[in-house]
Amino acid sequence: MSLLELKAVCKNFGGLKAVNQVSLGLEEGEILGIIGPNGAGKTTLFNAITGFYKPDDGEVWFQKERLIDLKPHQICKKGMVRTFQIVKPFLELTVLENVVIAALNRTKSVQEATERALKTIEFVGLKDKVDTLGTGLTLPHRKRLELARALATEPKLLLLDEVMAGLTPTEVDELIRLLKKVNEKGITILLIEHVMRGVMALSQRVIVLNYGEKIAEGVPQEVVKNRQVIEAYLGEEFGNAES
């Protein structure tokens, strides 16, 4: 069985089927990209997987265990963590304090959590910002902090919601390198992203959502040639300099 397996997951808002019968399997060590138009249900799917919403139908399996009625922090304890599209660090706390809180997911000792947090902060390249308040960080640094907080919970599976939005292509490339290093540590990644430069560089497989349904799945080079995907999402074939 896969590390994460979704079986026909559904989530409705009133009469709207935001996520409609989505199934997928994510293998250990893989990086899977999710793309699709705004409003296609990508973030809703994340919320349904990580316990922020309860799916109306279908099953979520993680490490051979079915997740039912678990809260986000319980799912985090099991080794699955997500980041948010709008990054939400504690703005009045320092970078270190922000990450220590996350590290306390795995230990009761503040000293131990601090040691782990410092290692994580160094890993994401924020070492010289350890004592900076959340408010004092630029957007790329806030995004790295968001990543550090997720990593400090020591996840097996990391769900990233648009971590590349708002970055210049060069900043995107730096983040791609960092996420490859995360993956090399053995962390499986599920990635929602509009920045195709990032999707293409990182994903081994891509699934495409449209109106809550999966309309395509495959290796990125093939998916971006899919006519339905071009019409619904890309607008033109991928491969121009701007992407």
Binding site: N38, G166, T168, E242
Partner: protein, 234 residues
């Protein structure tokens, strides 16, 4: 039409702009390119009067506007579409648009302006009674631009209009910006999507650590080696 001369802006002790100068001529699309934290949004906020420069001048036509209030600056024809849209989520599409035309001159022509906005964004008319918070990301961006246009600006400033949009919508938004410009509105644009924005722009400025380090036509900047390496990742 707009002349920014050597403005310096501080957040407390932190200096964000170190003497930024730039010009925008009537009818142009001008882009400010720069990495995050370079001071792009700060520049726009200084022009719209949300932030006051400590030194330097900002001139619009014959008026020196750098000490004016934001509402006064809006009434003189400069409007800023903020990054992240910042709509009123619990108001309808029409109500949000009306919020963009609160001062007398704009209020008088509200009906016609709204027809113009609906012509640019037919999607907004289809959803005129829907709450802004329930619109998709692309629709919200259209509404933010539409709300800005409701005050009939002569200079429209957009802060990262493509943020968080799918590739097909990014293209649609840039097409609309071009259309708005062709209909007579001057545009000052801040964008991370450097390729799209420079392709569209007549001229551009490169902002690094609070200073302008390079300027030229959109095409010149696209070919510039420094831009290609530092901003386009080529």
């Amino acid at each position: 039409m707009l002349k920014v001369k050597g403005i310096e802006v501080f957040y407390g002790d932190l200096q964000a702009l170190r003497g930024v100068s730039l010009d925008v001529n009537q009818g142009e699309i001008v882009t400010i390119v720069g990495s995050n934290g370079a001071g792009k949004s700060t520049t726009l906020m200084a022009i719209s009067g949300v932030l006051k420069p400590k030194r330097g001048e900002i001139q619009l036509g014959q008026d020196f506007i750098h000490q004016y209030s934001s509402s006064k600056i809006v009434s003189l024809g400069i409007v800023q579409i903020p990054e992240g849209r910042q709509l009123f989520p619990t108001l309808t599409v029409v109500e949000n648009l009306e919020m963009g035309s609160q001062f007398p001159k704009a209020k008088k022509v509200r009906k016609e302006t709204m027809q113009w906005v609906f012509k640019l964004f037919p999607r907004l008319e289809e959803r005129e009674n829907q709450l802004a918070g329930t619109l998709s990301g692309g629709e919200q961006q259209m509404l933010a631009i539409g709300r800005g246009l409701m005050s009939r600006p002569t200079l429209l400033m957009l802060d990262e209009p493509s943020l968080g949009l799918s590739p097909i919508l990014v293209k649609a938004i840039f097409d609309i910006i071009k259309e708005i410009n062709l209909q007579g509105t001057t545009i000052l644009l801040v964008e991370q999507n450097v390729f799209h924005s420079l392709t569209l722009s007549h001229r551009g400025y490169v902002l690094e650590n609070g200073s302008i380090v390079l300027s030229g036509t959109g095409q010149e900047l696209l070919k510039d080696q420094h831009i290609r390496q530092s901003y386009l990742g080529l």
